[in-house]
């Protein structure tokens, strides 16, 4: 009977197309919006990805990585003295205005790293060498920032065009020259500003007037000491807050700064509400369109279901037929919707905007929700058919 049930479904192509459109649109909306949501949320802890260290130490009042509260320089020595610390390096992060050569200003994320160890340096340099940061007035700019901060000129077609900054170009931070000695590849941040790396001491100079410039300390545990264990020791002995650097959302531990950052944005911004609304909308649209279309499919076939009942098919058989039809439509609709979401995602990833992270869990959740929509649709149909009297087939 299930084969016939499927043939009944595929035989009505117009209804099937409508049903699949509803389910696919719903799956697309839920998967795409969830992926953009997690993409945006992954931007909130970008510094944790771009500035690599096993343990981060901050002021006890720090709640998330973008909200650095300055520490005293002496704290660095206190942390270095904790048993289990292999090394500890200072880190400065701040948002400052950079003045371009054309007079334009851009907000940048200034990152000051230890000039001796280069702890926290970008992993990939596409131009230049990290050691050149030891030269006077030098910075390394990220690729996207280089193009954002580029010089405005006129292209061959006569239209205005921005030429990305390159090694050797200069700009100013607080009236102090910054000469580019390298271009790096880093992940973009929620705050939107380009990452500009320099040495910790030079960062102090760029942020004139700031009494304290130590934002975080990057710490490496000794062999045999786990980051979590070291965090505990640092907190007990210094009273500072120590964090692990897990950034894998499904795998982060209690002490993860990325996790805290994620949940800070979750509870203090309207982002989850906004995207949650879109996901719910996808769910309701799916239920409305698919439920309605499936109901109308059942209505059109009602007299045939009544005939099948009269011929001796129990409600169990008919219910299973309807489930087979609804779940088959759900599977195809999910495939189409998830495929489209992947396609859109790839285009987004290539453009870099908006951020798009499609975890396998998002696909699973979308799959379950689409099957939920199919289930609701099937139940609506089953209720309708169960109320049909088999004797009605004799009433013309």
């Amino acid at each position: 009977m299930y084969r016939l049930a499927l043939n009944m479904l595929f035989g009505d192509r117009a209804k099937l197309a409508m049903l699949l459109c509803g389910l696919a649109f719903s799956a697309l909306l839920m998967a795409q919006q969830s992926s953009v949501f997690f993409g945006i949320m992954s931007w909130t802890y970008t510094p944790m990805v771009n500035i690599r260290a096993q343990v981060w130490v901050s002021d006890p009042m720090v709640e998330q990585v973008n909200d650095a509260k300055p520490l005293r320089d002496t704290d660095l020595s206190r942390v270095r003295s904790v048993d289990g610390v292999a090394w500890a390096a200072p880190l400065h992060t701040s948002f400052v205005q950079a003045r371009m050569q054309d007079g334009n200003f851009k907000l940048i994320t200034l990152v000051g790293i230890d000039a001796d160890t280069f702890a926290g340096a970008p992993a990939v340099l596409t131009q230049g060498r990290i050691e050149d940061l030891r030269l006077p007035d030098t910075v390394i700019v990220d690729e996207w920032g280089a193009s954002l901060m580029g010089r405005m000129g006129v292209g061959p077609d006569g239209k205005p065009r921005s030429t990305p900054l390159k090694v050797g170009d200069t700009f100013e931070i607080n009236d102090i020259q910054a000469r580019i000695v390298g271009i790096c590849k880093v992940k973009r941040a929620f705050t939107g500003g380009p990452f500009v790396y320099t040495t910790y001491d030079r960062a102090k100079g760029y942020t004139l007037g700031a009494r304290r410039t130590l934002s975080f300390m990057l710490v490496e545990p000794q062999k045999g000491v786990t980051p979590t264990e070291l965090c505990g020791r640092i907190e007990r002995e210094t009273g500072l807050k120590a964090w692990t650097s897990d950034t894998v959302i499904w795998n982060w531990g209690e002490r993860s700064l990325a996790r805290n950052t994620f949940w800070w944005f979750w509870t203090n911004t309207g982002i989850p509400f906004s995207f949650g609304t879109a996901v719910l909308l996808g769910l309701f649209v799916g239920i409305a369109i698919s439920g309605q279309t499936f109901y109308s499919f059942v209505l059109e076939n009602l007299k045939y279901f009544a005939a099948i009942k009269a011929m001796g098919a129990g409600m169990g058989v008919i219910a299973r037929m309807l489930f087979v039809q609804a779940f088959t439509a759900g599977l195809i609709g999910f495939g189409l919707g998830a495929g489209m979401a992947q396609g859109i995602g790839r285009a987004m990833i290539e453009k870099g905007m908006p951020p798009f992270v499609m975890y396998p869990q998002i696909l699973w959740a979308t799959f379950v929700l689409v099957l939920g929509i199919s289930f609701v649709s099937a139940i609506i149909g089953i209720i309708k058919v169960s109320r049909v009297d088999a004797a009605s087939v004799f009433r013309g």
Partner: protein
């Protein structure tokens, strides 16, 4: 007595059937008695609203009467639950409907296969048996087509094939010719008579169509919810009011 009992295919005795609320009750059957024998084609005739379709539904086990007994091929239906009735219909009944009720999104052969698949027969067996009966009703070559591509007469042939494919002992036909012209209706009734003629089968036909009365072995006339008389010869009926 025992011989007579063995010849009875359907027996309904003292059947009452009411619809509506106690304040606004419509009496469909009132102490209705009906008998059909094995090997015969019996027609139920009567004016609209006399209770033919209700009696047919009671015999088919799709309606349960408020009073009386119904026995089909030795099986009492009046005490059975819904599940048992459904199972009984699955094994013992074939249906030919007025409006054919062929599923338009399925092919001809798939429509014919439905009763066998409901019985839980394997798909391939159902396919082969359906192909054989489609050939018998003269539609060989049309198996894969859709019912809507067939004429009314051809569609009713498919419906007959579907009704007989699982070889039910009781064939129920509800106005099988009402949607067909005279010649086609005649051909359809010839087919019903030829294919269903068997000492172990009984055919009950509800009809208004006096042009097909000649195909009946007996005709039971209904009036006001009960059988008023049963005749062997259609000429004995006054068809003016039917």
């Amino acid at each position: 007595m025992s011989t007579l009992a063995n010849t009875i295919a359907v027996r309904a005795s003292g059947v009452d059937m009411f619809f509506g609320t106690p304040d606004n009750q419509v009496v469909a059957l009132k102490q209705a008695d009906f008998e059909a024998r094995r090997g015969e084609l019996i027609m139920l005739v009567g004016p609209s609203g006399c209770g033919k379709t209700t009696l047919l539904s009671v015999i088919a086990g799709t309606l349960t009467p408020q009073a009386g007994t119904v026995e089909v091929f030795g099986q009492r239906l009046d005490g059975l639950g819904q599940e048992a009735l459904t199972s009984f219909r699955r094994q013992h009944l074939g249906f030919v409907f007025q409006s054919f009720n062929l599923i338009p999104t399925l092919s001809v052969i798939e429509n014919v296969m439905v009763p066998l698949l409901i019985q839980g027969r394997p798909y391939d067996e159902a396919h082969d048996r359906s192909a054989a009966i489609i050939e018998k009703v003269g539609l060989k070559g049309r198996e894969e087509g859709r019912p809507n591509a067939l004429s009314g007469g051809q569609q009713q042939r498919v419906a007959i094939a579907r009704a007989l494919v699982h070889e039910p002992p009781l064939l129920i036909c509800d106005e099988p010719t009402s949607a067909l012209d005279k010649d086609t209706g005649g051909h359809i009734m010839e087919l019903v008579r030829d294919l269903s003629r068997s000492p172990e089968r009984c055919v009950v036909v509800v009809t208004h169509d006096h042009r097909i009365f000649r195909f009946a072995d007996r005709i039971a006339e209904m009036e006001d919810g009960r059988i008023s008389r049963v005749v062997d010869d259609p000429k004995l009926l006054d068809t003016a009011h039917l």
